[in-house]
Symmetry: C2
Subunit: 418 residues, 2 copies
């Protein structure tokens, strides 16, 4: 058991939680937070510190250069200063715990290089993905003799809250976005959440753990679709299908060794493990050769769930001296994922023979149709047999050229069977 003198970067929601959880069991947990670095020393904080143990600083280097500090906790976010701090701390042999998924997803390979060059360096990041769910620890330890075939997660509490409101109360997108902003769940600029960028960073991290390699090139190459185009109509159809709609990140191992990683809204049938994940909850379903499907669910964000994951990392690092460098094998991406798809296709006006034309188009693209539903005069819903993303894209492009096509784009998403 290593004793930790901790320097913490960040004094916000999560930082306050970490301070409370560590200090209420100090010193019996062999840990104490001796310095907290924040940008603005004058900003009011919502937690009290014991001045006889803990001091505040605005100088990041005063922690890095303090040899009495052997562990840093980075909960300030950002990918600039945070990167310098983490790399420097690792090189100095300080244990590092971070909640920074954006930094990890963007600079994974550089961090792995630092870890490999410093075999005693230790980096833990349970809090970076899915708040309080110990999914990182689970992927690192429960599947070592197994082969994971897919990881599918609801990893963003903001959008899951919004989709739950739309499903349960028939609310419109703009209305639930305002509600989420009012509650502090969504940012003033909600792009990172609603366009799926946050989920993308997380599924990149999960896929690298699950398949033991790293994704070469930027995260921008990952197909990423958010929820901003989902309407009440989609939920009406989902209800007809005994299903709901969730924003999911998926990483699937394909035949031939490629990995398909993508972010998309999905129709999730009632009996699927992800269907009942409501509000700000998160969940990850891992499918593997030995275990079949396992689901891990819990709170996706918030002060204490996220702080709890930081603290669990601290206990683990304190108990162990294992190095944490991951495999640096490259993973080859296959963006052309497959499945049964839901397509909502807008039509301009009442028109005879639409179903026949859809059928001909689908056949030309090799897409089998399971059912065609019509709920309003302004659109059609098509459920496909298993096919590939590229086939669906081709079909939608062709449909848009037909004389009955409406002005809006078609919307499609995969169906997760219950």
């Amino acid at each position: 058991m290593t004793s930790f003198n901790i320097g913490m970067y960040g004094g916000g929601t999560v930082g306050g939680g970490v301070y409370e959880l560590i200090m209420k069991n100090s010193p019996s947990n062999n840990m104490k937070i001796t310095k907290i670095c924040v940008r603005d020393l004058n900003k009011p904080r919502d937690f009290q510190v014991d001045g006889s143990i803990t001091s505040w600083t605005a100088d990041p280097d005063s922690i890095l250069e303090d040899d009495s500090i052997n562990c840093i906790v980075e909960v300030m976010g950002g990918t600039g200063l945070a990167k310098r701090i983490i790399e420097t701390a690792l090189k100095k042999g300080k244990a590092v715990v971070t909640a920074n998924k954006a930094l990890l997803a963007e600079h994974w390979n550089e961090l792995q290089k630092v870890l490999k060059a410093n075999p005693k360096a230790r980096l833990a990041w349970e809090a970076a993905v899915c708040g309080g769910i110990p999914i990182i620890q689970i992927l690192q330890t429960a599947y070592q003799g197994d082969e994971i075939s897919s990881v599918t997660g609801i990893c963003n509490g903001t959008t899951n809250f919004m989709l739950t409101q739309m499903f349960q109360h028939g609310a419109a997108y703009d209305q639930v976005l305002k509600e989420a902003q009012g509650l502090g769940y969504a940012e003033v600029d909600p792009t990172a959440d609603v366009e799926g960028h946050d989920v993308r960073a997380k599924i990149v991290l999960l896929s690298q753990l699950a398949y033991g390699g790293s994704i070469v090139g930027g995260v921008e190459q990952i197909p990423c679709k958010g929820i901003s185009k989902i309407t009440e109509d989609d939920f009406a159809y989902a209800r007809l299908l005994k299903a709901t709609i969730k924003l999911v990140g998926t990483a699937r191992r394909m035949e031939g060794g490629k990995v398909s990683v993508y972010v998309t809204p999905a129709i999730v049938e009632e009996r699927h493990a992800l269907a009942s994940i409501d509000g700000a909850g998160n969940a990850v379903v891992v499918e593997s050769k030995n275990l079949g499907a396992c689901a891990y669910t819990g709170p996706g964000a918030g002060r204490y769930p996220t702080a709890n994951s930081v603290v669990a990392d601290l206990y683990r690092l304190s108990a162990s001296t294992t190095a944490a460098a991951a495999s640096d094998d490259a993973l080859t991406l296959d963006p052309n994922y497959a499945g049964s798809f839901y397509i909502r296709f807008p039509v301009a006006k009442k028109h005879a023979g639409i179903v026949g034309k859809i059928g001909v188009c689908a056949e030309q693209h090799g897409v089998g149709i399971r059912s065609v539903l019509k709920n309003t005069d302004k659109d059609f819903c098509v459920i496909t047999e298993d096919c590939q993303l590229s086939q669906v894209e081709g079909l939608c492009a062709d449909l848009a050229k037909q004389d009955f096509a409406g002005n809006d784009e078609a919307l499609f998403m995969p169906i997760l069977s219950g």
Copy 2:
């Protein structure tokens, strides 16, 4: 990373799975199984061993006395010989991985004493509870800075298969028991499964991990009710309530430090995380101060799920030298658990004024009634407000003395809200 020369006890379903998973990655995993001890060397096995590496023996001591073997895997079951083997191996400094929940639940305190007396001894038992779900590892590492308030699990695949069949197909208990026996899910003598004894051993182990102590006295003091009295009528009522019925083990921390541990069938509302766990699946819901409710679900039994947990333990032990003795603080039990209850009460004949008399009885026992339902002429269903087990037992005893009472006993169980 310690290299493991493994001696395995047991060559059955799980043993064969462990052999395959270890040997297919040997020697790159630094592990090999060099001896397998079985009772009957002539019995046919459903897996092939490589005779140049692995030999068979019927003599348990030939593994214990072999100094080249530094790790044993015990997957033979039983609480007699298995206990001697595990204790001797620990004393000799061999790492031990076992899947034997009955042994652990019955002899926990003795094993903890051996661990304490031998600080280098290492014992891991992920496979003992909930097959492939890494619930032991999760409880040991994800909640170190947290306070668990309850653990509720579906921990027995056989009974969950039976209850699922009864729910989905309206089948009778006797019929699904025969079906489960035909499929090899249930034993010829199904007592351990259907009367909840298997769940009892598992919830004892989970409660000791969750609350960091050990239950003093035998497992017989744990209130334990199985599923053998559940009828189609109960499922008819459950459907009216938009719920199903599950056999659950629960361990809840009470005010004042007592712990309430019990096994019972429960009405589980549709939206509850446990409602959708079907067939031979298992799930554990952990409620804690920092995380709220987290659910961990996966396969509860079977060759590869169970073997995968054994193998995950081997990887963990190989990577770490942490001792595994748990706290030996005693936990004080409170068998009088509380909740909203479902009561099905048989009546002898049509009779006026029954609801009034039920109301008077309930009032005398301080039990609030939420609703009274009547589905057939032969029984009533009562849903209570939150109350204690002892109050429900008292109410049922009083109802049995009324002139309208039928011959059968009342059946009651708690309701898990969705």
